[in-house]
């Protein structure tokens, strides 16, 4: 089978194309849950895409943000199977695709892991109270 060369994604497949591998668009409609906050802003999330929460001043704004962010989030859903974390905390798959930014270096990620949990755990509410929250 011949593989496609540098043809742009979504380009029409010529009738005489010597390939049986090509891309098509698949329109998808996703439903979001929107909540009006006490301050009048809106919080929205697509339940089927973990981590898709956005906020905005209007329903149109949160819809636009979700439409922008959902495709990349969809690609990131599922088990996180990275192979490399660089020194800026960016997580990459084997094909070089960046899938996550964990905000810490590999060394920082592992720091303190060997300490164990005993005596080192603080309830969330106590932590928040320490910070006046």
């Amino acid at each position: 089978m011949d593989l496609p060369g540098e043809s742009p994604v979504n380009a029409p497949v010529p009738k005489d194309a010597r390939t049986d591998l090509f891309s098509i668009d698949v329109p998808v409609t996703l439903s979001a849950i929107v909540r009006r906050e006490p301050d009048g802003t809106f919080l929205a999330e697509i339940p089927s895409i973990p981590g898709s929460q956005v906020s905005g001043e209007s329903v149109e704004e949160v819809r636009a943000k979700l439409a922008r962010g959902a495709p990349s989030k969809l690609g990131r859903a599922g088990v996180v199977t990275p192979v490399r974390i660089d020194d800026r905390g960016r997580v990459f798959r084997a094909d070089g695709t960046e899938v996550l930014d964990i905000g810490m270096t590999p060394e920082e990620l592992l720091e303190g892991r060997a300490e164990g949990d005993r005596g080192r755990l603080t309830p969330l509410e106590d932590v928040l109270a320490e910070h006046g929250l």
């Binding site: 981590g51 088990v79 990275p82 996550l100 930014d101 905000g103 309830p123 932590v127």
Partner: protein, 98 residues
């Protein structure tokens, strides 16, 4: 049913480094995570991640110039009634370059 949430010393230190506004945002997300960890969390693979932990990541709008990404590392305690937050990562990104 919501899980109890406790922070490991390391996550507590990382939480303390967040700005005031980001502390509020992170606290809100930690409470959401407590309500549905299975839905929001994603399993990780070790290495490079620590074994047995899950990830919950979210982004927040930082205004015209920046956006922020947060990553919460967590695991269930032995009784599966408590979430142990083992790490909280945060990074700020300029708009327009990913």
């Amino acid at each position: 049913v919501s899980y109890a949430v406790v922070l490991h010393g390391r996550a507590k230190r990382e939480f303390a480094k967040l700005s005031g506004g980001h502390k509020v945002i992170a606290a809100d997300h930690l409470r959401r995570l407590a309500r549905s960890p299975a839905k929001l969390g994603r399993p990780t693979v070790s290495p490079p991640f620590p074994p047995g932990e899950m990830i919950y990541d979210f982004v927040e709008d930082g205004g015209f110039e920046t956006w922020h990404s947060f990553t919460v590392f967590f695991k269930y305690d032995a009784g599966e009634s408590t979430l142990i937050i083992t790490g909280i990562g945060h990074s700020e990104h300029p708009r327009g370059i990913g």
